[in-house]
């Protein structure tokens, strides 16, 4: 929180209870533009709830979520996406009945005026541009060879990459990733890390929720630790690694690495 | 005051029919997750159980009519009367209540056969396909009934003892103006009885508890090693029996015809949605509520202000409820939404 002018996303005093369970208590978070922030924490710490609050899937009881100064509270998911927030889900959310290319193109359309055109020529022209861009991202993520296949037939790892492509083609200002490498082989994980690093070079802000400490320490600029719905530590990767409270919360955790 | 009580009673017994059908619909939704458009057909089949029994009981022989002496006249006399005399006549007169005994095994059989023969293959299909296949089944059942019994309504008398009117006013000590058909009162009591029985069954028997638990969280119950599916099959049978009995008892009120099921089905769906999909108390509450509303909307005082309101009141209320309380009166979150 060195320079408040460059902070693009912040969560202020967010609380959320389900039934009697305090899922989030007084969560504060501020992410600078271009930063990659990792949120780690043991199972049930409230990480997914936090992400759901960010995209408007769950409304917080109290507190505000702001993106570039605008409050996200009460906004619909599509509205939040249009502001420039894209999300990769824990279980891949894709269009199983459409081809990979169509999956990506649909996402690309939402950022442009691409609804309904009478003239086939005009439609073709607009589509060609989107087509090339979509193919570019499919190639980037090594799934271009399946471009014409139905997304339902992909392996789980490929589905994740497809979803990532769908988010990237939208050029979001903030990308939220919910365990982007869960269920991937080591090789695929490394490949995904490379891709995410590449995006980082382009200056895209990211928030990553991740279990795999290898991924976290390869990518994160700063790390926040969530335990029992509260942020118990925040800092540079090295600081967090040596933090006693964090080690306690994980009960000698970090065994992934 | 008199008119008020009368309309209230009218509404209650109409509501009783709605509630009984909606209860079965909701049971099937909640347990099997199936949207059963053939549920109205089950109601209709129940009614035709009564028609069938009446036909059987009144199987007749031509006999000489002794009361006409000028020439040889013949009349139809049911075998029952020939064999048992007065007792036979009484049995025929009581054919509707007797049909209840027939309807239970018949409807249970039909329900189980329907679930095992068709519905079970549709658990994994989309709701749209469930709706479509049960819609098709409803058409088939209704056309079969039509080809056997014709298209005209068949009058079904209530037993003479119960076909008069009950002096409700005298019971309540408010004069003798308010009188109400006995049979309708019985229908109302009957619907309370059945609804009560279903709730007691679900609440206090272990069987019912498993079913309720299965409605909440099927996977967990299955993990406990309980065969939920078989119990749900029985639940389908019970829903069929409830619908069938409601149909039997309804015959003296409105003469049954082959499309009575469809007419009731649409309204019952509205009832279920208003009550909240998957909520049994919601279905019962909404059933009675809409019945009463409809009854009051059809009084002349109201109709003078809003002509035709009785025809559309239920739909209007349904719309308002759904727009203001999207999950219905007592609905649970996320039920049947995806």
């Amino acid at each position: 929180m060195s320079d408040s002018a460059s902070i693009i996303f912040n969560i202020d005093n967010v609380n959320k209870t389900f039934g009697g369970l305090q899922a989030l208590s007084n969560v504060n978070l501020a992410v600078e533009e271009g930063q990659t922030r990792a949120i780690i924490g043991p199972n049930g710490a409230g990480k997914s709830t936090l992400l759901n609050v960010c995209v408007g899937r769950i409304a917080p009881d109290t507190g505000v979520v702001r993106f570039r100064g605008q409050s996200l509270t009460g906004r619909t998911p599509h509205d939040i996406n249009q502001l420039g927030v894209a999300r990769v889900f824990q279980t891949p959310e894709i269009f199983p009945d459409l081809s990979l290319l169509q999956n990506v193109m649909i996402s690309a359309f939402s950022k442009r005026d691409g609804a309904f055109r009478f003239s086939p020529l005009k439609a073709l022209k607009a589509e060609r541009q989107l087509y090339e861009e979509s193919m570019h991202y499919l190639e980037d993520l090594d799934i271009a060879e399946h471009a014409e296949q139905l997304a339902a037939n992909l392996s789980r790892g490929d589905k994740r990459r497809l979803e990532l492509a769908m988010c990237l083609v939208q050029h979001p200002r903030l990308l939220l990733l919910d365990e982007p490498t869960a269920g991937m082989s080591r090789h695929d994980t490394n490949r995904t890390i490379e891709i995410l690093k590449k995006i980082k070079e382009r200056g895209m802000t990211k928030i990553i929720i991740e279990h795999d400490m290898h991924v976290v320490f390869s990518l994160a600029d700063r790390i926040s630790v969530l335990a029992q719905g509260a942020i118990i530590a925040e800092g540079l990767p090295e600081e967090v690694r040596n933090n006693e409270k964090v080690q306690e919360a994980y009960l000698g955790g970090g065994q992934h690495d | 005051m008199d008119a008020f009580i009368l309309q209230l009673l009218n509404g209650l017994d109409k509501g009783g029919a709605y509630a009984l059908i909606a209860l079965g619909l909701t049971l099937v939704f909640g347990t099997l997750g199936v949207v059963n458009f053939a549920h109205g057909a089950l109601f209709m089949l129940g009614a035709f159980c009564a028609v069938t029994l009446q036909k059987i009981l009144t199987l007749s022989q031509k006999v000489k009519d002794e009361s006409i002496t000028f020439f040889d006249a013949y009349k139809e006399q049911p075998y029952l009367e020939i064999w048992f005399g007065e007792t036979g006549t009484t049995i025929i007169e009581w054919s509707v209540p007797l049909s209840l005994l027939l309807a239970v095994p018949v409807m249970l059989t039909i329900g189980l056969a329907m679930e095992r023969g068709l519905i079970q293959f549709f658990y994994k299909r989309t709701h749209a396909q469930q709706i479509l296949v049960t819609f098709g089944l409803a058409i088939v059942v209704q056309e079969i009934i039509k080809s056997f019994y014709g298209a005209n309504p068949i009058p079904m008398p209530a037993p003479p003892l119960l076909s008069g009117t009950a002096p409700i006013g005298e019971f309540l000590g408010i004069g003798d103006v308010v009188a109400y058909p006995w049979w309708r009162l019985i229908y109302l009591l009957f619907s309370f009885l059945i609804i009560g029985a279903v709730f007691l069954f679900l609440k206090y028997t272990t069987y019912g508890m498993v079913v309720r638990a299965g409605m909440q969280d099927r996977a967990t119950v299955e993990l406990l090693g309980i065969n939920v599916e078989r119990r749900f099959t029985i639940v389908f049978g019970i829903a069929a029996v409830v619908a069938g009995l409601a149909g039997v008892m309804y015959t003296p009120i409105v003469p049954p015809d082959y499309h009575m099921g469809m007419d009731f089905l649409v309204l019952s769906f509205v009832v279920v949605v208003v009550g909240g999909m998957g909520s049994l108390p919601g279905a019962v509450l909404a059933g009675f509520m809409l019945g009463i509303l409809q009854s009051f909307a059809s009084t002349n005082e109201v109709k003078n202000i809003f002509p035709g309101i009785d025809q559309i009141i239920i739909y209007l209320v349904a719309m308002i409820v759904l727009l203001t309380r999207p999950r219905g009166l007592l609905g649970k979150k996320g039920m049947m939404e995806s």
Binding site: A86 | I131, G308, M319
Partner: protein
């Protein structure tokens, strides 16, 4: 990928040729008379519209007959008040049913899944009750709305007062809208409607609708306000139904409430499913099959059956008649119900899925020999 306009044009031309030549190639099937041909065309338009909504978005509407009925009423009123030329009536029919579709769509699309289906069903029943009894001054209730000799027909009487006692005949700039001219008029509109539907199917809009069917939540998280897309599709398909309804009135200037009953909505669902939901021409095959067999089956009765089996020995003929007769004539709906159930159970993709399966089997057998002949 999304579209190649040449193949679209080819599809359209083939379709146009097939439709316009129906009077010729349906001759051997005994179906080439104007009444039935008009039905094919009008219900064709109806299902094209229905399929645009149900087929693409997966939202099962049980209320589309409402728009059909509203279109008919609007058209007949246009005949009564303005002119018996069918063109203004059709425009008016589309607009009024579009208005109804907007209102009903706005309400119903607040919910999804079976809630949506039941809401459309409830609203449709409400409209039916309104038309059947409450709004009798507008709809003429049970007796159906018809043209009458003393109708105003402002435009007509301004141009050339109607002479004689008889009712004027609906026409398109002088061409009477009955018999073959009526069919060709409907056929042309069918072809235009079909072209429009190809365009929607192949446009990004169509793709977006299919994406909503596939995963609505992802659509929302990708920045789409899905309700607006659904609403547009519902509106378009309601206007299609209104167009079909006003054409019905143009051919035969009569509008009755039974056209709006929910069983009528059920019929359009049936035709769409039977042919193949979400395919371009499947639903129209469904119309063809259902309307054709309805025509043939419902005309048979016991005696006609006996006669057609007369080539068999008499006891056999009688036995066959006994078996078959519940399924024809009055019993046609039974046949339809059974057919429909069989399709939903075994062939959810309808006739089109059947064709695909047969083709797949066929090509698998043939493949070793003729690998070159692939298109």
């Amino acid at each position: 990928m999304l579209l190649s306009s040449r193949s679209e044009l080819r599809t359209l031309l083939i379709f146009a040729a097939v439709v316009l030549m129906m009077p010729i190639w349906l001759l051997p099937l005994g179906a080439a008379y104007p009444d039935l041909l008009q039905k094919f065309a009008i219900f064709g338009i109806f299902v094209i519209g229905y399929n645009l909504f149900f087929g693409l978005t997966g939202y099962l509407s049980f209320g589309h007959a409402t728009f059909l009925g509203v279109g008919s009423y609007a058209a007949v009123w246009c005949f009564k008040l303005l002119t018996v030329n069918v063109l203004p009536a059709i425009v008016f029919g589309i607009l009024v049913s579009g208005f109804f579709a907007a209102v009903i769509g706005f309400i119903c699309l607040r919910r999804s899944g079976i809630y949506f289906s039941i809401l459309t069903l409830a609203l449709a029943q409400m409209c039916y009750s309104l038309a059947y009894s409450v709004l009798t001054p507008i709809t003429n209730g049970e007796t159906s709305l018809q043209m009458e000799a003393h109708d105003a027909r402002l435009l007509d009487s301004w141009i050339a007062p109607h002479v004689g006692d008889g009712l004027p005949i609906t026409h398109l700039f002088g061409i009477p809208m009955s018999g073959y001219p009526g069919f060709y008029f409907c056929a042309v509109i069918l072809i235009i409607s079909f072209w429009f539907s190809i365009r929607i199917f192949n446009s990004p809009f169509g793709l977006q609708l299919r994406a909503i069917k596939s995963n609505q939540e992802r659509m929302q998280y990708s920045g789409y306000n899905t309700r607006i897309y659904l609403f547009s599709a519902f509106l378009i398909s309601g206007m299609y139904a209104g167009l079909a309804g006003s054409l019905m009135a143009a051919i035969d200037p009569l509008a009755g409430a039974e056209r709006m009953q929910w069983t009528a909505s059920g019929e359009v669902v049936l035709m769409t499913i039977l042919g193949g939901v979400g395919t371009l021409i499947g639903p129209m095959l469904g119309v063809g099959v259902i309307k054709y067999f309805e025509n043939i089956f419902s005309s048979y009765n016991h005696d006609a059956l006996l006669e057609s089996f007369s080539f068999l020995p008499q006891p056999l003929a009688e036995a066959l008649t006994f078996v078959v007769s519940p399924f024809v004539g009055e019993g046609w709906h039974l046949t339809l119900g059974i057919l429909f159930m069989l399709v939903v159970i075994f062939l959810p993709g309808g006739i089109m899925e059947g064709v695909d399966r047969i083709r797949a089997r066929f090509s698998r057998h043939k493949q070793p020999q003729q690998t070159e002949q692939t298109t």
